[in-house]
């Protein structure tokens, strides 16, 4: 369903993405990993239409979406959550999700009815339930804890009823326990909604535990791809991470 072909992008003299080609099968859960500055977020920006690539194709829903605005890409069914939770600070959790659902139903322009529209409530409740945010429905987004903010960010993306969901470091800035709770929710979501999920992650234990496929980026290019086992044994990956992340070498040695 989603595949990128020979995607390249440079900023000034820096090549942030080099000739990346990856297929993401329908309903897959894929991790994008790589050292800092590997071009992971840029990769997401390219796919989601936030930045236009210099070369290459992004094929989604049977069409090349390069050159489409991020708005069009969202409407085709690709939503994203951000590394730093992108919220609406002055709206309550419920209002924010309801507004997002309203927007997805193409009713952002409705003037003659009152907010919330009747057709949105069920969907909103479902999303809050799914993420365990129901008890905080009336909390202002800015007053949420860090973890809940990340969840709400994902909730907003879910309101788009996406076929493909891009999660940029869903566990960023969390403690170890919280990370596992968070990723448990992501996995649950993926199982329930049967979406194609791409996520960027730094914690190798998490990646190896839940991802079906892993793509390793380094200096903007694909260094390796495969299943958790394949990646663990890949000498290039071990070399790339040695010195920057001993954890991976350690994890690989355990097998």
């Amino acid at each position: 369903m989603l595949s990128v072909q020979n995607l390249s992008k440079s900023f000034g003299g820096v090549q942030a993405t080099r000739d990346v080609s990856i297929d993401f099968p329908d309903g897959s859960l894929t991790a994008i990993i790589g050292p800092n500055g590997a071009g992971k977020t840029t990769f997401f920006n390219l796919i989601s239409g936030a930045i236009r690539p210099d070369a290459g194709k992004v094929v989604f829903a049977g069409q090349d979406i390069v050159g489409r605005s991020s708005l069009e890409v969202v409407r085709l069914g690709m939503a994203r959550a951000f590394q730093v939770a992108a919220l609406f600070p002055s709206l309550t959790v419920k209002d924010a999700v309801t507004a997002a659902v309203t927007s997805h139903q193409r009713k952002s322009w409705t003037l003659l009815q009152r907010f919330p529209l009747e057709g949105t409530q069920h969907r909103t409740d479902e999303i809050l339930e799914l993420l365990g945010l129901s008890s905080k429905a009336n909390t202002l987004s800015r007053n949420l804890s860090h973890g809940d903010q990340k969840l709400l960010d994902i909730g907003l993306a879910l309101a788009m009823d996406p076929k493909v969901l891009l999660l940029d470091e869903p566990t960023a800035g969390m403690g170890p326990d919280e990370r596992w709770r968070m990723i448990g929710k992501v996995q649950h979501l993926w199982e329930v909604k049967k979406m194609t999920v791409l996520f960027i992650e730094h914690d190798m234990d998490i990646v190896f535990k839940i991802a079906q496929a892993i793509h390793v980026l380094k200096y903007g290019a694909v260094l390796a791809q495969g299943t958790a086992d394949e990646i663990r044994r890949n000498q290039d990956v071990i070399d790339a991470y040695l010195g920057t992340d001993h954890h991976l070498a350690h994890a690989a040695g355990q097998e």
Binding site: L87, A99, S103, S108, T110
Partner: protein
Amino acid sequence: MKSGVLRDLAVGAVLVALLLVLPILFPKPALRDFLIYVMAYGLLAMSLNLLVGLTGLVSFGHAAFFASGAYMFGLLMQSGTVGIPVAMLATVGGTAVLALVIGAICVRLKEIYFSFITLAFQMFIHSIILTWVSLTGGDQGLRGGIPRPPFLGIDLNDAMTLYVFCVVVFILCIAIMRQVWRSPFGFTLRMIRDNPTRANFLGADVVRVKLGIFVLAGSMASVGGVLLALFVSGAYPEFGFWTTSGEAIFMIMLGGSQLFIGPVIGAVLLRLLDHFVTIYTDHHGLVLGAVILVIVLGLRQGVADYIVDWLERRRETRAAAASVASEKGAA
């Protein structure tokens, strides 16, 4: 949801009753005049707040549409070809087109650029009013009075009838803006105010939505201009001068940008302030400027917003204290 509408209707009814009873209780023309001014400028400030408070677009040129309302209406009435209702509708439509053209250029810009360029366009309109003397009367304003031919048995030459007419139009516009404020569209605007990038990634067409509210706010401002033109029976370049926009912004700050009715309260306060300052001194700008500086530097936010925040903080501290107390009790 339904209860929200009912409550708004109830508040609206009380407001109408109050506005109609006040001049009967205190039958001085001065009070009526004061209230008409407040309603005209209140519409200007309220409509500006759809941009400032609801969408996060700080326009410094909103008075352009206020002036366009007054002049278009005045010129249409002086032409003698149409009655008051048609002239009003045509004025609102004409201003909407004007706002569409100006907005199409402005709404794409980042916030501070937006402020400046709206100011620039306003001064452009102002300079057109000043230079096109044959049409607008230049700096003398639209002279010769604005005729008020009776329509549907309503004769606006009677002062009380004019007042009631203004109240009805004012409340009608307030109702429209209240509906915008509470509609799904209003929440799209809040999303854009809080985080336009995110709103875009949630399928909101940010530029078009901004343009939509810009046109709507401009049209509402033009109604304020119509009321003022009807009342003073003329139109003057000052209506479209930058100070008028500045006053509207100050009204919002006095009355609060997050309170729906705040800007009208601001309009009342500023008119009162104006009234007393003019009695005691000629140095109107000096006093007004000093008041603004004291408020902005002292509170660092609008007066009403400050009070609302203060009340909220107090409630939160109390709630926290209460929960601590109850926990102690439970232990």
